[in-house]
Structure formats: structure tokens, C-alpha cells
């Protein structure tokens, strides 16, 4: 579908997805506080963060799933090749959803209607967005199930969501997302509920699909192993802000934010056996009671006087950002 070109602001040279200065509020609480990241076709950006960091809310806001009265996007933009999704009319946005940008949920079951067969639900996408006939749409649905490696797809298309196992459900969820060949896929903790061996299958599948179609993938996760496995770039979120961004290998090798450094130190590794793990003291701040300055300051070992001011995102290398006043001390060993 080539609808995107006809929309205001379209710029073929702009990044595929660029989020900037996004703010989301739930009631009086700001849960996403000026988040920005970019991802281009064929790239995987991992958004890494613990629960409550705002990583999922950001994704839902991009997809237009944050709506009053529950919450509201109060500032910022989410541009697809320059077209701001957040200012588009709901009707336009609905048409882009699925065809240009799609989402895979943590719990695929919740994204599926329990009383309709899986094949029917995928076929519905083709009928609604491409006006295909019932028969043609059903054929395409089977193709999609085949594409996500569901064995005997033609037979399974007639099954209902509850008849699929956890891993197969997640494949169906991915199938729903990629059916219309979107340019951007946002996957929100797609493997968190799965076992290790099944997680490996799903991660491999996502990677293959992305390479075949040149899709941009935004992978939201708390699992640092998954990030290391699949991401080109990583954005680390803490308390509603992106605290560090860069190429995955760079960030893991030389973290430039104390939080990233502490997270990496908290993972049990074979060489740390018999020793205590590094811990981050305390707990994440309460988003309802924001304190001025750097959000990580109360738990940070590097905190100094400057940290009373909110640190700006500083570019410390090509495509490498950190929001820390003391980043130079963090990076020097």
C-alpha cells in the first residue's frame, strides 16, 4: 500500500520511524517524559527497560492506543517518513495501522477474538484493507500462517485461538502483524511469556522476516540476553526517559550511563559464580511523585552536584547518546 506518500509531511529521505520528545500522561502522572528514538528499514532497535520505565506506553502511544480518558499524549511526535502519526485524523491513522506500522503483543491471545477462527481473522485484514474477495483473502491468510512457519497451515487456519499452544499463538500474533507487509513492526515483549527453547524459535522467526522484508523492528523487552541476540541499536529507558542510546555492541561493551552499567552488572554470569552480584540499591522512583533532576540520582553511585539538573541527551559519538552529567566518569574504567 502506498498511502503514506500522499499524506502531509511525507519525506522519502526521513527515517522510517522517528519518535521525538514524546510525553504521555495518565491522569496527573507523566509516565513518558520526552522520549525519542529512530529506526530505519532493515534495522532492529531494542527498547530496554524494567517494569514501569514507560517502554510499552511509548509503543502504545505511537500506535495510537493511548486514548482519553485513560491517558493522553501531551507533546511530541512519532513520524513515519516524516508523516506525524499523532496529528493524523483517526481515520487515516487506522488505515496506516497494519499496512504501514503494526504491533505484536506480549500476549497474542488478547489480540485475537476467541470466537473467530484464526484464518478468518487474518483474512479479515485483507478484506478490510485490500478489498479482496472472501476466497482470495482466505488463501492469503493460509500463506501468512505458512510464512510464520505454522505446520499444516491450511488445516490450522480453521482452528480457534485457544487451540494453539503459547509459541504457536505468538506466531499467529506475528502473522497478524506482518500480513499486510508493514514497514515498521513494534513487538512488545513478544517472548516474555514463552519458554527458552520457544523464545529462540520466535526470535529467529522475527529476525528472518525482518531480513526478508527489510522491515524496521522495534523490540521492547526487559531481557538483556534477547537484546544482545537480535538488536542493532538499543535505547535504554528509565523512569519515563531514554537514558542511553547507541549500537548494541557499543552500549554493552562501554555503557555510558550508570543505570545501564548497573543493569549489565546485575546479570548473573558464569565468571561471577560464588561472588555477589552488583545490585542497584533502592527501587525505581514513583512516577506520581517526580523529583527534579536526574531520575536515577537517588540510586546512582556517580551522582554529583550537577545531577540536581535534569541531564540533556548528549551526543558522545556517532548515533551514541547518553543523558548523564557524569558520563565521562562512567566510561573511564
Amino acid at each position: 500500500m502506498t498511502r503514506l506518500e500522499s499524506l502531509p509531511g511525507y519525506d522519502a529521505a526521513a527515517p522510517l520511524l522517528a519518535v521525538s520528545e514524546l510525553r504521555v500522561r495518565f491522569g496527573a502522572t507523566t509516565v513518558v517524559d520526552g522520549v525519542g528514538y529512530e529506526v530505519d528499514g532493515g534495522q532492529t532497535l531494542a527498547v530496554l527497560g524494567e517494569s514501569g520505565s514507560g517502554k510499552s506506553v511509548t509503543a502504545r502511544a505511537i500506535m495510537g492506543l493511548v486514548r482519553p480518558p485513560r491517558g493522553a499524549v501531551t507533546a511530541g511526535s512519532a513520524r513515519l517518513r516524516g508523516v506525524d502519526l499523532l496529528t493524523l485524523a483517526e481515520e487515516e491513522r487506522r488505515r496506516l495501522r497494519g499496512t504501514t506500522i503494526a504491533m505484536v503483543f506480549q500476549d497474542a491471545l488478547s489480540a485475537l477474538n476467541p470466537v473467530l477462527s484464526v484464518g478468518y481473522q487474518i483474512a479479515e485484514l485483507f478484506r478490510a484493507h485490500q478489498g479482496l474477495s472472501r476466497k482470495e483473502a482466505a488463501r492469503r491468510a493460509v500463506e501468512v500462517l505458512d510464512l510464520v512457519r505454522i505446520p499444516s497451515a491450511a488445516r490450522r487456519a480453521r482452528d480457534y485461538p485457544h487451540q494453539f499452544s503459547g509459541g504457536m499463538r505468538q506466531r499467529v500474533g506475528i502473522g497478524l502483524a506482518i500480513a499486510l507487509n508493514p514497514q515498521v513492526i513494534i513487538a512488545d515483549e513478544p517472548t516474555t511469556a514463552l519458554d527458552v527453547t520457544v523464545q529462540a524459535q520466535i526470535i529467529r522467526l522475527l529476525g528472518e522476516l525482518q531480513r526478508e522484508h527489510g522491515t524496521a523492528l522495534v523490540l521492547i523487552t526487559h531481557d538483556m540476553g534477547v537484546v544482545a541476540d537480535i538488536a542493532d541499536r538499543v535505547a535504554v529507558m528509565y523512569a519515563g526517559r531514554v537514558v542511553e542510546q547507541g549500537a548494541a555492541a557499543e552500549v554493552y561493551a562501554r555503557p555510558a550511563h550508570p543505570y545501564t552499567e548497573a543493569l549489565l552488572g546485575a546479570i548473573p554470569r558464569p565468571e561471577l559464580r560464588g561472588r555477589r552480584l552488583a545490585v542497584i540499591p533502592g527501587a525505581p522512583p514513583d512516577p506520581g511523585r517526580p523529583e527534579p533532576g536526574c531520575r536515577f540520582r537517588p540510586r546512582c553511585g556517580y551522582a554529583g552536584d550537577a545531577c540536581g539538573q535534569q541531564p540533556p541527551a548528549r551526543e558522545i559519538g556517532p548515533g551514541r547518546l547518553t543523558a548523564c552529567h557524569e558520563w565521562e566518569r562512567v566510561t573511564t574504567p
Partner: protein
């Protein structure tokens, strides 16, 4: 620290089996058996940590309930400090099961929402009056709270006022009140964030040394198990398929399932990407209601041969005496089968 040979066996499990009847229809007829735990034998010595890994449905949680007498086994024996739990009844059983306490997975559901922290930790003393005289209990509760890293002045708080990590600490304090020999930890950190997870893992290590506890540490996270465990048992469909020391299992895994599990676990190092050999298994674990014939892993096994579907392998030593593997092909990798 003493050597393993001198240390006393605190928990001994022989051929433990738990089958749940699967009922269907209006008359609730039994139509099958869910073989949750299907012949597991384990041994745990004082101060030792046995890690148990496996995917969902492998029976590790049922095993935890059997070890702590929350469930009665269909057959087999759990012996705690030389006394078999099945020969005991009433007060005797209650006293025996004190020695083995369970730490639950979800700190949100394992605390009574209407009881304060202090009341929760005090309950073991209240129901076992012989443990401590009434006058000492409040002091003991404060000591326990302190031992698990909680402020003893916060005993009046309710669970909803605590973070996940703090709740898990309360659960641990409650279990410690009975001065157990063994803590069975069923996925104690998987509901927690990474940074909090490290706090709890460290706490468990500290307590192990301080109270010379033995742990049965059950988790699906291989790296956490590796960090804590001296010995590891890998479970698949209700059976232990491989067991050995931490090094034996992680460095020279012999069972194809263990090898696949280890290779599937993501390594938090982007530089290692592409360098490790990855075995991606097909499909998902089959239902424990109707497990496959022969070796229950054979339909997913990348090494399987014809014989694997016919006869079930038994746990046998491979290289070392303590390294047991249940696989026809493990002793002669790529060999000529059974």
C-alpha cells in the same frame, strides 16, 4: 567448609511420582493421567544448592510442592533428616515438614493481603508454640526482618505498601522463622525486575552461609541457576534427564535437551552473536497427559534414532560418577544407538 562426603544428607527423594487424574464430562470420569512428576530421585546435603531447570510443564513446580508436603505423592518417598514424610501423621508430620520450607514464585499472591508484615512473619511461631516462648516472638520477628534486609520498624506495613522485592523478602523471613534445613525456592526471582532480582539472589546466598541452609532452587532462567547451584538437575516431562555438578551440566552437557536448552538461552553479550552454535528445537514440549513412547524427548530431538521411540532410557553415569544422563545416545555421541 567441609567436603561433600562428610556432609549429612538432609533431603532424600526416591522414585517420586505424582499423577493427576484428568477428568471429563458431567460424571467427571477419569479419562487419563497427567504425569506431572514421573519417577524423580534426588539427594541434597547440608549447605548444598541443587538447581532444577526445565520448561513450563516439566513438573518442576509440582516437584516443589511434593518436597514441601503441599502435595501427596502418588508413590515414592521424600525423606527429611532420615524420616520419611509418608510414615508420619498429624503433629509428627507438622514437625518434620518444618525442616523444608517453600519460597513461592509470586510475592504478590503469597502474602495474605490482610496481614501486616510482622503478623505474617510471626505466624509460624503462633502456630508452633513450642518454637519460641510468647515473650520472645516479637524480638525474633524483628531479627528475621533484619536478616532479610527489611527495616524491622516497618513490621506494621501491609503487603500492598511494599515493592515486589520487599514482599519476596517477607516470604523468605516467614520461611526462615521455622529454622528450616532446606528452602525450596520455586522461581523466586522470575516475577522481579533484573535489578531487584540481583538483590534477592545475593540475599539467598548470604542466608545460605549464615544459616547453613540447603536450597532446591527451581528456575527457568539458566543463568540464575548457574550462579547459585552446586549441582543441577534438568527436567523434561516429569523426569530428570540429566544431573551433575554445575560445571558438568553447563560445560559438558551430554543430553541433547540440555544442550538445546543451553544454546537457546540468550547470552547478554552482542559480541558473542553468531559465534555460538545454536540448536533451535522444533515445536514445544508435548502434553504430560499422553507423553511420547520411549524417550519422551525423541520427537523434538535432533539426534534421535529409531530405537529412541521404542525404549525409554534410564539415568546412567557418563564421564564422572555424579554426572547422570538419561539418553541412549549420550554415552557414544553419534554412536550406534542402544
Amino acid at each position: 567448609m567441609t567436603t561433600a562426603v562428610e556432609r549429612e544428607t538432609v533431603l532424600d527423594v526416591r522414585d517420586l511420582v505424582k499423577h493427576f487424574p484428568v477428568r471429563q464430562g458431567a460424571l467427571r470420569r477419569t479419562v487419563g493421567l497427567l504425569k506431572a512428576v514421573d519417577g524423580v530421585s534426588l539427594e541434597l546435603r547440608r549447605g548444598e544448592t541443587l538447581g532444577i531447570v526445565g520448561e513450563s510443564g516439566c513438573g518442576k513446580s509440582t516437584l516443589a510442592k511434593l518436597l514441601t508436603a503441599h502435595e501427596r505423592p502418588t508413590s515414592g518417598r521424600v525423606t527429611v533428616l532420615g524420616r520419611s514424610l509418608h510414615d508420619l501423621r498429624g503433629g509428627e508430620l507438622r514437625r518434620a515438614r518444618r525442616h523444608v520450607q517453600l519460597i513461592f514464585q509470586d510475592p504478590y499472591t503469597s502474602l495474605d493481603p490482610r496481614m501486616t508484615v510482622a503478623a505474617t512473619v510471626r505466624e509460624p511461631y503462633d502456630v508452633n508454640p513450642d518454637l519460641a516462648p510468647r515473650g520472645d516472638r516479637d524480638r525474633l520477628v524483628r531479627e528475621l526482618l533484619e536478616a532479610v534486609g527489611l527495616n524491622p520498624d516497618h513490621g506494621g506495613r501491609y503487603p500492598h505498601e511494599l515493592s515486589g522485592g520487599q514482599r519476596q523478602r517477607v516470604g523468605i523471613a516467614r520461611a526462615l522463622a521455622l529454622r528450616p534445613e532446606v528452602l525450596v525456592c520455586d522461581e523466586p526471582v522470575s516475577a522481579l525486575d533484573v535489578s531487584v532480582q540481583a538483590q534477592i539472589v545475593n540475599l539467598l546466598e548470604e542466608l545460605r552461609e549464615r544459616f547453613s541452609l540447603a536450597y532446591v532452587f527451581i528456575a527457568h532462567d539458566l543463568s540464575v541457576v548457574r550462579h547459585l547451584a552446586d549441582r543441577v538437575a534438568v527436567m523434561y516431562l516429569g523426569k530428570v534427564v540429566e544431573t551433575g555438578s554445575e560445571a558438568e551440566v553447563y560445560e559438558s552437557a551430554a543430553h541433547p535437551y540440555t544442550r538445546a536448552l543451553l544454546s537457546a538461552a540468550p547470552v547478554p553479550d552482542p559480541a558473542a552473536r553468531g559465534t555460538r552454535q545454536e540448536i533451535v528445537l522444533d515445536g514445544e514440549p508435548p502434553s504430560p497427559v499422553d507423553p511420547p513412547s520411549g524417550c519422551s524427548f525423541h520427537p523434538r530431538c535432533f539426534m534421535a534414532e529409531d530405537g529412541c521411540a521404542r525404549s525409554a532410557p534410564v539415568l546412567e553415569p557418563v564421564a564422572g560418577a555424579g554426572h547422570l544422563v538419561s539418553c541412549h545416545l549420550a554415552r557414544h555421541p553419534g554412536g550406534d544407538g542402544p
